[in-house]
């Protein structure tokens, strides 16, 4: 029982990091109907910048630069996608794959074999509550995710900007007629989406992991099942999907012996299995908008 609770705690804190990335995917998709496959390399970019700068300017300033780099990276991608006038959404998503290959290769070359710590203030501290031990970094991740995602939802629901974002996402043509500047609103989707990924990246490389590595970006792929399970165009669903993936992955890894029939190392693939099952049941994810069209 204790083990279950401990694993759940780990799963939820890991899931909150996935949720950040997944919300990023969903915001970009909802805003512009593009699946940003470059989310992973943007995450790596942000974390890399933090790791490079933090010895010189301190962690918090480096964090600012890292988030800015991630957000600007998102904007740059949006600019790139904007170059394609007549492409459909699939073509645009393929474009992000190309961008991802470019950026990830260059960053991997720069990082090389190094493990680059980000110098975060949580270091290797741990919190012990009621027999549970959770790293400070993961507690911070959970709280930050709650705060940032909560704030984002408030902005979407309550502010004028949020209303224009939502209407632009729902019907671009009508939104244009209402005087909403699509380019700005869409650019903001990329900016927010990739800043979220960067923040998640920071926590992903923090304790108990050791730092930025050449393939840190691959971890963002885990958020893909999360966002699909929730529904590509549903930021709310992405939160749930992220948590579900984090918990499922941790439980399967933690109960590896009992689940031996799944094969060793099944924790990694559990999210994908879950994703395919959910898709068979609901082709647009749990909260994705379904189309009335029967084709």
């Amino acid at each position: 029982m204790n083990r279950l609770i401990e694993l759940l705690a780990i799963g939820v804190s890991l899931g909150s990091i996935y949720a950040l990335i997944a919300v990023g995917f969903a915001v970009i998709f909802k805003g512009t109907r593009v699946v940003n496959f470059a989310q992973g390399s943007i995450l790596l970019l942000g974390a890399y910048i933090v790791a490079v700068l933090s010895p010189h300017v301190g962690f918090w300033a480096a964090l600012g630069f890292g988030l800015a780099a991630g957000a600007l990276g998102g904007l740059a991608l949006y600019g790139l996608v904007g170059l394609v006038r007549h492409g459909d959404h699939m073509t645009l998503s393929i474009l992000t794959i190309g961008a991802d290959v470019l950026l990830a290769t260059e960053l991997a070359r720069r990082v090389g074999s190094r493990v680059m710590p980000t110098g975060d203030p949580w270091s290797d501290g741990v919190l012990r509550v009621a027999g549970l031990t959770v790293p400070h970094a993961r507690v911070a991740a959970l709280l930050s995710a709650l705060l940032v995602i909560g704030l984002l939802f408030v902005v979407f629901q309550r502010t004028a900007w949020g209303v224009s974002w939502r209407s632009a996402a729902a019907d671009p043509e009508v939104a244009t007629l209402m005087g909403i500047r699509l380019r700005r609103v869409r650019g903001a989707s990329w900016l927010i989406g990739d800043a979220l990924a960067t923040l998640a990246g920071l926590f992903l490389v923090a304790f108990p992991n050791t730092g930025v590595e050449a393939h840190t970006g691959l971890l963002a792929l885990r958020a893909i099942p999360a966002v699909i399970i929730g529904g590509l165009d549903s930021p709310e669903g992405a939160v749930l999907g992220g948590l579900a993936v984090g918990v499922a992955e941790t439980l399967v890894a933690g109960y590896g012996d009992e689940l031996g029939f799944l094969g060793q190392g099944a924790g990694d693939v559990t999210p994908y299995l879950l994703m395919i099952l959910v898709l068979l049941w609901r082709p647009s994810g749990l909260f994705g908008s379904r189309e009335a069209v029967r084709v």
């Binding site: 009335a292 069209v293 029967r294 084709v295």
Partner: protein
């Protein structure tokens, strides 16, 4: 063959797009469906084509269409020309018209891949027929041109010809002259008349151009907010108070 709609209803997340719509399209007639924007005209077409699942009954002759998937409806002889041109842009006019022969032909992945004689003959036969239809529609010169290189009016015409190439019993035309020049409109009207005369096809027409509709249609159904507010010959509909309100209410 008569196309009849009975009490057709369709909901979109609480909004009633179609609300108990009933009307008949007599064989060989030109039947217009008109109404203000958002009145449910295109939904009506989508319902007939099987793209939306609706309540009520839609019949073609004796055959119930509701519940059938779109490709089966197409196979039964319901063809549609789309309002926003839905052609394969990179493909030639000929290829675009050949798609319409899909339900009349049978080559699959295997037989097409192997280049069987049967497939080659079928292709040849249908190519001849499609060429005839293209000639009829005034597209003979551009058969080998990619659709994307055509003018807007010509693409509208390809859209029409493609529906014709399905050898339909009922032809659904969604705003066939929208955005056309005066001359193009005249040509299209002539084409629709010819089609009905020559092929005896029923034509269902959604169109905003009132003079054109009044001159062309045998019968008109007026929709507003998903409901039929008037149905009858042009002269009758023109005088109908609800129609006047629906149309003129916005411009007092």
């Amino acid at each position: 063959m008569r196309l009849s709609l009975r009490e057709v209803s369709l909901n979109f997340g609480g909004v009633r797009a179609l609300d108990g719509v009933s009307f008949d399209v007599e064989p060989g007639s030109v039947h217009a469906v008109i109404g203000p924007n958002g009145a449910g005209k295109s939904s009506c077409f989508n319902a007939v084509c099987g793209i939306y699942a609706v309540g009520g009954s839609i019949r073609l002759g004796d055959r119930e269409l509701t519940g059938l998937p779109p490709h089966v409806v197409a196979g039964l002889g319901v063809a549609r020309a789309f309002q926003n041109i839905a052609l394969g842009g990179a493909d030639t006019v000929l290829d675009n018209l050949m798609v319409a022969r899909h339900h009349l032909t049978g080559a699959g992945f295997v037989s097409a891949g192997l280049g069987l004689r049967r497939v080659r003959r079928e292709e040849h036969r249908h190519r001849l027929r499609v060429t005839e239809i293209a000639e009829f529609s005034g597209l003979a010169d551009v058969l080998d041109t990619p659709v994307a290189e055509l003018s807007y009016g010509d693409r509208k015409r390809v859209e029409f010809a493609r529906a014709l190439a399905m050898e339909p019993r009922v032809l659904l035309l969604d705003e066939p002259v929208a955005g056309m020049t005066y001359h193009e409109k005249a040509a299209t009207v002539a084409l629709i008349r010819e089609t009905r005369e020559v092929l005896g096809v029923s034509v269902v027409l959604v169109e905003h151009d009132m003079p054109l509709v009044m001159g062309l249609a045998d019968r008109i159904t007026v929709l507003d907010f998903g409901r039929v507010i008037a149905d009858g010959p042009p002269a009758h509909v023109r005088e109908h108070p609800d129609v006047l309100r629906a149309y003129l209410g916005a411009h007092p």
